[in-house]
Structure formats: C-alpha cells, structure tokens
C-alpha cells in the first residue's frame, strides 16, 4: 500500500463517473462518503453484499468478508465489496452495477415518521406502515425506486436496521415494510414487544442499488424467500402502476404455510398488471395446503429451460436461497448478468 492518496474513478451503469481521492487505509466506500457521495451500502462490514462493484483497473487489497456476501469465485473475477476495498496504487477504477441515480449526494435524507399500522400477517411476520412527516424539500411525499430500502431507527436508540420498502414511491408519505420477527432481533424485538400505532421512528433513505433494470420487453421473474418479498412486491406494484409491458411472474417461497403472507397484495397486482402471475411455494406444506411441496428454486429450475425468452431474474431472500436460485439459473443457461439479487442477512 502506498502512503499517498489514490485517485478513484467509479463508473455507474449509465456511464456517469464519480471521482474522488482515497486516503491510505481508507475503504473506497468511506472515501466516497467523505467526498459527499453515499454509495449504496448497508452493513458496511462485509456481510450484506450491497456495496458490490467490479474493479476494472488498479491494485487493491480486499479485507475479509462473508462468502455469502461475495462468493470466492466472484471475488476471483475482480468483484469486490467497496466497504472492504482498499486501493494499493495511484489509481483505482471500478464499475458500479447500478445507475448514478442511486448515489446520494449531500448525505442520506433523514425524516421522522409515525407508525400508522402494525399488524401480524403471518407467523413471526408483521406488516409495518409509516407515514413520514412533511419535509422542506420533498414535501408530503416520499419517492423511491422499487427495490430500495430504508434504515429504521427507534427514537432514543443508536442502532438502525435496514428494511426493504414494499410499496411504491408516493405523494402521501406512506412507507410499507414486511418484517420478520427474529428471536433477539434488536429492531424486530422492539416491534414485537414495544411498538404501537402512533409511535415515532426515524427513517434514513431511500438507499440501495437493488432495482429493476431496463432491458426492453424481456420477461421478468421474481423469486422471494420470506420477507424478501418486500422489494419484489414493490417492483411488481411499480410495474402495475406504470403499466409496464414485460410479462412477469413471481415465486414466493416459505417453509410452512403459516408463513405465507402478501396474498392480498399479490392478488391486487394480478388484477392490475396484465401478464402477471404468482406462485406460492411451501417447502413443508400441511395437509390443508392445496399444492405439493415446492421451493422457488425447484420451480425456476423446472421452468427456465422451457422459457421462450430468457427472463431477467430478480431474487431476494436469505443467502442460501439466492445462491441456489443463481445456481439454478446458471444451470438453465441464464447469463449471470440477467440475475439481480439482494441478500437478506439476519441482524
């Protein structure tokens, strides 16, 4: 590693370039933030994979990270997590897998919100709805791209947790989340035990690189594991609202039928979006479940070879599901660049 500042050039998927200096020992992600550009990221410690990029030039060192966030084979191909990337020469160039619109300049927006709905929708799963308060710049509304997330913070606490938005950007300031109540979860524990309608929260965002890609009329398949449905629901709701023409199908995977949620929302999308269908895959169904045991991975593996046009695949869920779907996609002949994913990691 040199002792001088490294010139970093990041090129977004729309060709826009971001240039800044990176001090010795500083991660590219931190250097960008210091230069006033908040890149999509979440955990900032190598476990979530949301700050992925591909180095195209220049030496660097890569710190330790979760193999689920950045599988070794991808790391060997030059993919990096920017929170773990430390330049080692005069210049470093990298390609970002998202457009420049996902880079936030001038700090991540922070707003206050009030809980307007909190309801259990499945076993250990709640639907949380917030209404953010008016803001000088944004007014009453809250606009975001489908696939993005918000950091939520309970007032008076210093921890935040990232949750994907399930609704679409709107002018009423409404935010909707589906939260899995995890044993010992800091935020979800508060949701389970302390939160009430009318309570206040701080929201930071929108953030994140996950989102729909413009690739023409190519079909879109969405694969969700559990509450990984949230960003994908936002995407299909967006498609319905904007009447986008791509055929779309969604697979929601859960372990048991008691975990099934989101059916009213998916039915509503099916009524509004021509060419949309969805399947609920229950790995261990009970006797009352009308279908056989199934997983989204099985369904993708079975259907992909017969797809007349290779789809774009959007996957969100726990890392094992994401990896399994990516494997099924590869086995089915789908090019890696057609697979877009976001991993949910327990926090």
């Amino acid at each position: 590693m040199t002792g001088a500042t490294t010139g970093v050039t990041l090129t977004a998927s729309d060709g826009e370039r971001l240039e800044f200096g990176c001090a010795p020992g500083q991660s590219v992600l931190d250097a960008a933030a210091e230069a006033g550009a908040a890149l999509p990221a979440s955990c900032r410690r190598g476990t979530c994979g949301s700050c992925r990029a591909a180095v195209t030039g220049g030496p660097y060192e890569h710190g330790s990270c979760s193999p689920q966030a950045l599988p070794p084979d991808r790391r060997e191909r030059g993919e990096v997590l920017l929170c773990r990337t430390f330049p080692g020469g005069d210049r470093l160039e990298a390609a970002l897998p998202y457009p420049s619109s996902r880079i936030i300049h001038g700090g991540v927006p922070e707003r206050e919100g009030v809980i307007t709905a909190l309801e259990t929708v499945a076993r250990e799963t709640v639907r949380l709805e917030l209404r953010v308060e008016p803001d000088d710049a944004a007014g009453d509304g809250c606009q975001f791209d489908p696939g993005q997330f918000m950091d939520l913070r309970v007032p008076g606490q210093d921890y935040t947790r990232a949750y994907s938005l399930a609704n679409t950007g709107n002018w009423e300031g409404c935010l909707e989340f589906f939260v899995r109540l995890r044993p010992g979860g800091l935020f979800s524990g508060w949701l389970r035990d302390g939160a009430r309608v009318g309570d206040r929260l701080t929201v930071r965002g929108p953030q994140g690189a996950f989102g729909l890609r413009e690739t023409g009329p190519r079909p879109r398949w969405f694969v969700a594991g559990g509450t990984g449905l949230a960003p994908l629901l936002s995407m299909v709701r967006h498609m319905a609202e904007w009447q986008e023409p791509q055929p779309a199908r969604l697979f929601l995977g859960v372990n048991e039928e008691a975990e099934v949620f989101g059916l009213p929302e998916l039915k509503a999308v099916a009524c509004e979006l021509p060419g949309f269908s969805y399947e609920i895959c229950v790995r261990r169904p009970g006797p009352s479940w009308p279908g056989p045991p199934a997983t989204p991975v099985d369904r993708v593996a079975a259907l992909l070879p017969d797809a007349p046009v290779p789809p774009d695949l959007y996957v969100c869920g726990p890392p094992p599901l994401v990896e399994a779907v990516a494997g099924a996609a590869a086995a089915g002949g789908l090019a890696p660049e057609r697979v877009h994913h976001e991993r949910f990691l327990p926090t």
Binding site: G15, D136, A138, D140, Q143, W171, G216, Q243, Q246
Partner: protein, 558 residues
C-alpha cells in the same frame, strides 16, 4: 448507431453523425437503432397504405399510427427502448391489417380470381421476437443504408426527406389530437414514405419531391393553425408573468396545447398554479387557455436549460410532446411524460389523466413567496398582427418601419446561437422583429420599445406557428402588392431538429430566398446538396450577425 438528424450531431469525425454508444442528445445506440427500424417498418405500412388508399380502402387509423410513430423518433422525444419494441410489433400488426385491406380490395375488383403479389422491402419485414434480434435487424435500416451503391448525395437527400417527414408528422399529430385530421395529409405522408421505401436515387427527383414535401408541410401547418385557433381562439397580445407566484405549482413543457388544457381543467379551483415552460409560452395568448386564472405565468427558458430549471422548480413537471433531455436525478421522480415523449424510468401518463401530477403538486412545497414582477408579451399570431395591418403598412410607407426581421426557430445548447441574440438586439430602432420558436428566449426579456404604437418585438408563437408567420408575410406582400421576396423582410432561422427541416422546405417551396440558416448547415446534407440549395433557393448560412443584418438592409434598399 448512426444519427445525424439534429443540429447538435457529432461533427468531430471524418463522417458527421453520432455513432458511439450515446448520441449528443442523450439517445443510446440501442434506442437509435430501434428508431431506425421503426421508420423502416412504417415505410412498409406506407407501401400498402398508398395502394389501399388509391383503391378506396384507406385506413386512417393506420395513418394516425404512422404519425405517432414517426413523431416518437424526432430529436428529444422518446428515449425508451421498451416503448420502441412495442411500437415495432404494433407496426407489423398495422402493416398486416393494411395489407389485408389492400389485398381484399384487389381480389374484390378482379374479374378473375387473383392472388395479389406481396410487396418487397420494408413491406415484407417480419419483426424479430426479442430486443437483440430487433437491434440486429436495424443494421440494415440505418439512415445511411445504400451509401455504397447510391452515393453520399443521394443518401443525404433521402435523409432530407425522412427528416422533413418527421417534422410533418409531428405537426400533423398535434393537429390530429385536436380533431383536425386530414385524408390529404395522411395520403401525402404515406406516399412520401412509400417513395423512400423504393430507395430513390435520382437527385433531381429527390430535390423536386423535397420541395413537394415543403408544400405538404404548408398544408399540415395550415391544419394545425386551424386546430389551435379553432379550439382555443386566435392568439391575442397578452402580457405573461415571467416570475413565480407563491403557492403550489405545476410546470408544463413541450408543445401540446391539448394536454395543457386538460391539466388546467383538472386543476381548476384546487389552488395549484400552472406555469408554462419553453415552447408552451405562447399558450398564454389563446383566449380559452388564458381564461384559466391559475395559468399564472411562464417559468424558465428554452429546452436546453431544463435540467437546471426543473431541478429548481418546487413542484412536478409535465413534459408534453418533444424537447425532453435526460432528467436529472434531483427531479426524475417528479417529472411526468405524456403523448409521444418518453424516458426510461420516468412516469408516463396516458389518457390525459393527470391525477399523479396533481397529487405530486399537492405534496410538494410549491413556491413560498412571490418573485419580483416581470412580464413578457406574447400573442402576435397572424390575426393579431393582421388586425394591425393598416398601422403596419402605414408605418412602412411613412418610413417609420424600415425592415422586418423574422428571427426565430429552435434554441439549443450548441455554440453559435448567440448569433440570434446579437442579430435581434443589434437591429436598428426602425426595424421590427418577429419571432417564433424557443430561440426567442435569447432576447425576449429585452425591452425593444415601440414604433408608432406597435411593439418592435412581436412573438408569433411556437415553432408550430410558422404558418402564422407565413400568412403575415403573404398578407403584407398583398398589401404592398409585391412578391414576398420584395418585402422589406429577412429571415434568420435557427434550427435544431426536424420540424425546422420541414419548415425550411416550406419556405423554399414558397420561393422565399435569402434565408439565413444556422448556426450550422445540416450534417446530413453533402456540400454538393447544400450548394444546390444555395444556388437554386438563395439559402444563406449565418455569418457575422452585424454583417448579415447590414447586408439584408442593403439588399432591401437596392
């Protein structure tokens, strides 16, 4: 990708034209290729449509589809590749429908059973099923197709036809949405597209037919003039506030009066102020639009400044018809498109349901306070000017008005456009400046004063109102009992996109000479073709504004 249809095209290479991954307008190569293919596809529709129309089996819905499709390929109209894929498949279906009508008519008319011969070329095109396949097909539909066989002059003249047709279709579409369609115009567009489908290579014929396109465009502009004035009344001289008013706000840009009218209707009594932007400024002069009290003013300037202006506007922006450029992230979620215009990731509204715009306006802050009072004057369309014809002719005869300069057309970001501001601002005090299009924003805040109670600067309207300017010129020529070229009138035209190409051909078709065209000559025309236009039509390129102005005054005096 090869695109050289607009003034801002790349001229740095040995061959002019944008050929990289991204054109200078922001259009990516994939979208550009799909646009080429769509134009190829509508030529195929036209091949059958001309024949069907000639046999009394016209399909006006197909003609409307052609107008809309061609309009989407104009500069700064639609950048959404997905939309073009949809239009391409729709084009094939429309073509098949028109073909069936034609073939049914052939069979019905034949004395003996007959199977009509299928037509070749674009008429036989079968769309690939996916985006990649369509882009591959587009390689044979490039605008320079046939260059090796036909040569650069012919290819350039074919482009002249195609681009003039884009302008014609845009104007015709605007008239059509106001209920002013015309079978004659449909037939003219179909015939011109079918002519191009045959890959013409006779330069004299191409030149002659280009002038014919100018005449067709005159009819279209007359139709549009009738549509605008018939729907909203004749323009009236009107002062327009050019600064903000406190309150919730919506900004409407583009050219479409019908969309603006619909938005005004839908926002009535809601406490939301509506502002015009760019080429919608003349809307304030139409009686049935200006009667809406919440049409409060004009905001910003010409199209190329929109990224800065839209970012600063504290409400939603509705972009109608053309002139969109890449929406900056700061306002991408509060800009909406309607009609032929589109941008990937920008909300497109259909059916003139502007409720999402209204919701955004209610949610966004709007202007906190009034700006300083500043005003512009618009509304000198043909009726307003000709109502003052006596005063105008008297002023000319008495020597109070020495000369008229029509300084107008499109504005743009390319260098050299200060010419028009210098030209207008330096005009002698005894001259009158007529203007139209968005080039006027370079000088329309200047106080030009008056001559004999007549304003020295008269805004005729949008670029779409070129017909109004022509009517003013012909009426003055009648009043002075002379030819238009004998009038003390000089035209300094600024061009950017293809509507200006159509207007230029109309002016040439009328025999108007000594037009100063700039800031550059079209890149698609070869030096030989430009030479012919200069020689036959007296076309001039712009030079030094003072020298050009002096030369014009000298010509008029001689």
């Amino acid at each position: 990708m090869l695109c050289y249809q607009c003034e801002q095209t790349d001229r740095t290479g040995t061959v002019p034209g944008c050929a990289g991954p991204l054109g200078n307008c922001g259009k990516d190569a994939e979208t550009s290729d799909l646009q080429d293919l769509l134009l190829y596809a509508v030529k195929g529709i036209a091949q059958y449509a001309t024949r069907a129309r000639a046999m009394g089996a016209a399909d006006d819905e197909a003609a409307e589809f052609v107008l809309y499709s061609v309009f989407t390929t104009l500069t700064n109209v639609n950048f959404n590749p997905t939309r073009f894929v949809g239009l391409l498949h729709e084009a094939a279906a429309v073509r098949d429908r028109v073909r069936e009508r034609y073939e049914d008519r052939v069979r019905a008319r034949a004395a003996q059973p007959v199977e009509p011969e299928p037509l070749p070329g674009p008429a036989a095109w079968i769309p690939a099923q996916d985006l990649e396949g369509l882009v591959e097909q587009a390689s044979s539909a490039r605008v320079d197709a046939g260059l090796a066989e036909a040569g650069a002059d012919v290819v350039g003249l074919r482009a002249l036809h195609l681009y003039a047709l884009k302008g014609i279709c845009a104007y015709a579409y605007h008239a059509h949405v106001l209920g002013h369609g015309s079978g004659e115009v449909f037939a003219g567009v179909e015939e011109a597209l079918a002519y191009l489908a045959d890959e013409p290579d006779d330069t004299e014929e191409l030149l002659a037919r280009a002038v014919g396109l100018g005449r067709l465009n005159l009819k279209v502009m007359e139709l549009l003039d009738a549509a605008n004035t018939g729907t909203y009344g004749a323009q009236q001289p009107t002062t327009v506030r050019a600064t903000q008013v406190a309150g919730k706000a919506i900004l409407v840009s583009g050219h479409d009066l019908r969309d603006l009218a619909a938005l005004l209707e839908q926002t009535e009594d809601m406490g939301i102020n509506v502002y015009t932007h760019g080429e919608l400024l003349p809307a304030h002069a139409y009686p049935l639009l200006k009667e809406y009290p919440h049409l409060v003013g004009n905001y910003g300037g010409a199209w190329q400044d929109q990224q800065r202006e839209f970012a600063a506007f504290p409400g939603p922006v509705l972009m109608t018809s053309n002139c969109i450029i890449e929406p900056h992230v700061s306002y991408r979620r509060r800009i909406f498109t309607a009609g032929p215009v589109g941008w990937p990731g920008v909300r497109h509204l259909t059916g003139r349901d502007f409720s999402p715009v209204i919701r955004a306006a209610k949610a966004l802050p709007g202007f906190a306070e009034d700006g300083p009072e500043e005003f512009l004057t618009v509304g000198f369309g043909r009726d307003a000017v000709l109502a003052r014809a006596d005063r105008v002719t008297d002023a000319v005869k008495q020597g109070a008005i020495r000369h008229f300069f029509l300084v107008g057309g499109c504005d743009g970001p390319t260098p050299g456009r200060d010419y028009y501001a210098d030209f207008a601002l330096g005009a002698p005090e005894d001259t009158v400046i007529l203007t139209l299009g968005c080039a006027k924003y370079r000088f329309n805040r200047h106080d030009f004063g008056e001559i004999g109670g007549l304003p020295r600067l008269m805004d005729v309207g949008q670029c779409n109102d070129a017909f109004s300017a022509i009517k003013i010129a012909t009426a003055l020529a009648d009043a002075f009992d002379c030819d238009i070229n004998e009038l003390p009138l000089t035209l300094a035209l600024s061009w950017t996109e293809q509507k200006a190409v159509a207007v230029l051909l109309s002016l040439l078709a009328l025999g108007i000479r000594n037009i100063h065209l700039g800031p550059t000559v079209p890149a698609f025309l070869t030096p030989t073709a430009v030479g012919v236009l200069v020689e036959r039509f007296g076309l001039r390129t712009v030079g030094d504004p003072g020298a050009d102005r002096a030369a014009a005054l000298e010509r008029a005096a001689s």
